[in-house]
């Protein structure tokens, strides 16, 4: 019984001769069964985090545990779709699925994979190199879902898809995840793509965790307020504030009741994410029960 899908503690990964940190002391905990959006600007460390979780990279410092074990030890139970959707170009669609069956003999479910492929009107004997980007994504997802993973790691899964295919594949993905209790971790810099599908949020910025926790809790912890420019927002934590004339609009984390002078609304996911991205100096908020990263 695994209750935690992914747990990271002081997770750091550096690259290259200059030892630039792609991830820098990340700590978070993702409960099993959640559908987690990993959001952040380009270069925030999303792909690095997913590679670490998939056991393809080893952390420079710190640790990441997946399904209660080291990622390399649970290879069989997780699936990973990399950003560029790597597939063998010389194989046909049918052979690509056979590749999944041969390399996952104890888990492979042909029906699941075949259904995803069939929904895309893909000829089984079409070679991968002749497929469009969206069709490749579909085959890559079929390969990942055919493995019946307990944890599905998707790096920018929908980037190449047209809106219709995106909608359809996302629905298939969510239905499958709900049916089998699969934990899904999906990275994206298109926030709109994730809204409505995810119940957990991990916002990365410059290799650090900026926001982590159940989506509802994270949203509920923030208010979008509008008031007079000279009014004080103490003692609330101001994530971002913008003044237009005599009026100020701010995203705050209320530390109690807001004063009378403020009109407040609940922020959308997009507003929340954008406000955090525009102000990298805003304090991080952990609403999961992970230990804070050692500073």
């Amino acid at each position: 019984m695994t209750e935690t899908a992914i747990e990271a503690a002081a997770l750091t990964r550096r690259f290259g001769r200059r030892r630039t940190a792609a991830l820098d002391g990340c700590a978070f905990r993702l409960p099993a069964g959640s559908v987690c959006a990993v959001v952040g600007p380009n270069g925030a460390g999303k792909s690095t985090l997913l590679s670490l979780a998939a056991g393809l990279l080893r952390p420079t410092e710190g640790a990441i545990t997946v399904l209660g074990q080291a990622p390399a030890a649970v290879r069989e139970r997780l699936a990973y779709v990399a950003q560029n959707k790597p597939l063998h170009p010389q194989l046909t669609v049918a052979d690509t699925l056979r590749f999944g069956r041969e390399l996952n003999p104890r888990r492979w479910d042909d029906r699941v994979a075949a259904r995803i492929v069939a929904e895309g009107d893909l000829a089984p004997d079409a070679r991968i190199r002749t497929l469009s980007g969206g069709q490749r994504t579909r085959v890559a997802l079929a390969l990942a879902l055919g493995k019946r993973p307990e944890l599905l790691l998707l790096d920018e899964p929908m980037a190449d898809l047209d809106p219709l295919a995106r909608h359809q594949l996302m629905a298939a993905l969510m239905a499958d995840a709900a049916e089998h209790g699969t934990t899904v971790v999906m990275s994206s810099h298109v926030v709109a793509e994730l809204e409505g599908a995810c119940d957990h949020l991990l916002l990365l910025g410059a290799g650090r965790v900026r926001l982590a926790g159940p989506l509802d809790d994270v949203l509920a912890a923030h208010r979008l307020v509008t008031g007079r420019a000279d009014a004080s927002l103490d003692p609330h934590t101001v994530v971002e504030s913008r003044t237009t004339g005599r009026q100020v609009t701010a995203l705050v984390r209320p530390e109690g009741a807001l004063g009378d002078g403020w009109q407040s609304t609940a922020p959308t996911l997009e507003e929340l994410v954008l406000a955090h991205l525009r102000t990298p100096e805003a304090p991080a908020l952990h609403l999961d029960d992970a230990r804070e990263a050692a500073v």
Binding site: L56, L57, R58, Q69, A70, A72, V74, H88, R106, K147
Partner: protein, 333 residues
């Protein structure tokens, strides 16, 4: 909430699987390379078989037609005839393929087997199936190694058969000796070991470069360096025999490695080229001449020592490749 900081080294969660899946993947993914290798072996074997049968017969009949084997040889006996040239070319194709195979293998292994997969991410695709990187690499090494050994063995055995049959023809035409590069490699096991070394070097180059084209370059250059060094060392891999003679050089036999003049103290010096000038010889205190050489009986000792070294280098390369892969992925074995 405990954070496990150690990288698991047990294989408990990735149970042993039959090789069928990976073997299928290897044969399917590298189908064209496999066919190319089959074709190459077929061409080499065909050339050697042709030389063994019709080629040698034609060369002999040409030889006899020109009366080269009599006391009244035709003028054509001064040069090699077209039939013998054809024969020699066919043997050269067979032996040449044996010599070329290690380099082709290194280039292919660096570029297509490993480099392209790391460059495009398909290696990572395999590692996120139920296959550890170490098992993936083991399959990448084992399947080509088996096919290479088989093909090289076929060509080597054919070349040996031909070699043992055409001794008279070679002697008559004064061509090719047992110690010359291609013949030496094609007649023993050292050629096979170089093919395996090529595979190992290519795989390591692919892992180091992680891109197809640079890996191809590194693999070929790396293998060329190793083969050059070992080729230079070859005569010193087994104790030499020495012949000495007074007044003139001892007969030239086998693989001659060193020769020169001897002084009255027994010291070896460079030949001052006095020819028969006794004063010159006396001035240089030359009392005799020597030749260091390998007789043909040293063929197998030289083969075995060199094969041992090549296989040791290949094994070391493979160990480095596995360690590199493990360090990079942090994967359980």
């Amino acid at each position: 909430m405990t954070a496990v900081t150690t990288i698991e080294t047990s294989t408990a969660a990735t149970p042993a699987r039959g090789p069928r899946g990976l073997l299928w993947a290897m044969l399917r993914l590298h189908r064209w390379a496999l066919w190319f290798w089959v074709l190459l072996v077929a061409v080499g074997a065909g050339a050697l078989l042709w030389a063994y049968g019709p080629g040698a017969d034609a060369a002999w009949s040409e030889y006899r037609t020109l009366h080269c084997d009599t006391n009244d040889p035709g003028l054509g006996c001064d040069a090699l005839g077209p039939a013998y040239n054809m024969y020699d070319t066919a043997v050269g194709i067979g032996a040449g393929l044996l010599g070329l195979a290690p380099f082709l293998t290194a280039a292919w292994a660096g570029a297509a087997l490993i480099g392209r997969e790391l460059e495009g991410g398909t290696a990572q695709l395999a590692w996120t199936q139920s296959v550890t990187p170490a098992r993936w690499l083991a399959a990448k090494l084992a399947v080509p190694a088996a096919l290479l050994t088989t093909g090289m063995l076929v060509l080597t055995l054919l070349h040996r058969t031909l070699w043992s049959a055409d001794g008279q023809l070679r002697a008559a035409m004064g061509s090719r000796s047992w110690y010359q590069g291609t013949a030496f490699e094609a007649n023993g096991i050292v050629g096979i070991s170089y093919a395996l070394l090529g595979l190992a070097v290519g795989v390591l180059a692919g892992l180091l470069q992680r891109r197809a084209l640079p890996a191809l370059g590194l693999a070929v250059v790396g293998l060329a360096l190793i083969t050059t060094v070992l080729g230079t060392l070859r005569p010193y891999l087994w104790p030499l025999e020495t012949l000495t003679n007074k007044h003139e050089y001892p007969p030239y036999i086998g693989m001659v490695v060193d020769e020169g003049a001897l002084t009255s103290t027994g010291a070896r010096v460079g030949d001052p080229i006095c020819v028969d000038d006794t004063k010159c010889l006396a001035d240089h205190d030359i009392v005799g001449f020597y030749r260091d050489y390998h007789p043909s009986s040293h063929f197998w000792p030289l083969q075995l020592v060199e094969t041992g070294i090549v296989l040791a280098v290949a094994a070391l390369t493979v160990v480095i490749a596995f360690r590199l892969l493990k360090r990079r992925t942090g994967a359980a074995v």
